[in-house]
């Protein structure tokens, strides 16, 4: 069994991801499609929310991934800051656009769902606001990478930004509990007894959550491979210029 740290070697990462990526990509398409078809076509309307309950199969997995991706970026950034493994910094960079899109999906589906249920597209509710700030942090993170030419300096500064933004990732997750106010409900899914959601919804929702997770892993592998190649290309061009 290879040590986890062996994958910090770009060559080892490229070799492993070469065979792993197609498998994860196919699994992502199959599981996500299954979950969404199941949720959209084969779940009953909610007695109170009507057919809008079907938005849950997009909204919850996207919001979950938006927060989890930032946590993954935080771990990768810490690995970069402590151990200076380039692959971890490049993985964090590759993860950011996926997190941005997941956050945007969470915000848009939330607004579209909120309008008929709450009577408003948007409210300055703790969870909604902290989620909007998380979206802005994603934008800032991507912009910072794009603005800095030196990859090591870029990795250092974005890692620090990631540490700061983690506060809002945590707030996005627990805002409804911390403040106990606003329009947004608490957790729909809980391991605590007295569950709030029927299995008719829970089963396709879990499937979609696994599917979105697999979509993230597939795109992350593809994105990290591209970033590794882009970094090598930059180094080769710099060497050519110096020669």
């Amino acid at each position: 069994m290879a040590s986890f740290w062996e994958y910090a070697n770009p060559l080892k990462f490229m070799r492993t991801s070469d065979w792993l990526l197609p498998i994860v990509a196919v699994a992502a398409v199959v599981v996500t499609t299954t979950g969404l078809i199941w949720g959209f076509f084969f779940t009953p309307d909610d007695f109170r929310q009507g057919s809008t309950v079907k938005i849950v199969f997009l909204h919850v997995p996207a919001a979950m991934m938006a927060i989890n991706i930032w946590v993954m970026m935080l771990v990768a950034s810490l690995v970069w800051l402590i151990r200076r493994h380039h692959v971890s910094a490049l993985a964090a960079k590759a993860a950011a656009p996926i997190g941005l899109v997941m956050t945007l999906i969470g915000l848009i589906t939330g607004a579209v769902w909120g309008q008929p249920m709450w009577g408003t597209w948007w409210a300055w509710d703790p969870r909604l606001t902290s989620f909007l700030i998380l979206f802005l942090f994603y934008l800032g993170y991507i912009a910072l990478w794009a603005a800095i030419d030196d990859p090591d300096t870029g990795a250092d500064l974005t890692a620090v930004l990631c540490l700061v933004g983690s506060v809002f990732a945590v707030l996005s997750r627990y805002a409804a509990i911390f403040w106990n106010q606003g329009l947004h409900q608490g957790a729909s899914l809980s391991v605590a007894p007295g569950t709030r959601m029927d299995w008719a919804y829970k089963a396709p929702l879990y499937t979609c959550m696994v599917g979105f997770g697999l979509v993230f892993v597939a795109l992350l592998l593809a994105g990290t491979r591209t970033e590794i190649r882009a970094r090598r290309m930059k180094a080769l061009v710099a060497r050519e210029r110096m020669a």
């Binding site: 009507g50 938005i55 769902w113 008929p116 795109l219 994105g223 591209t226 290309m233």
Partner: protein
Amino acid sequence: MMPDLGRYALEVSLAYVVSLGMIGALALFYWVRGRAVKRQLAEIETRRGENG
């Protein structure tokens, strides 16, 4: 086959179309950029090989 979405058909359809469109566009962006970078790197490595 299409389920009856009732009075919220627009909202539910909009949520699905926008979300799936964004995920599709993201995947396409990663795929296109990945291919472009791979091709550019191959060109540079070939050039360096030719020049010794």
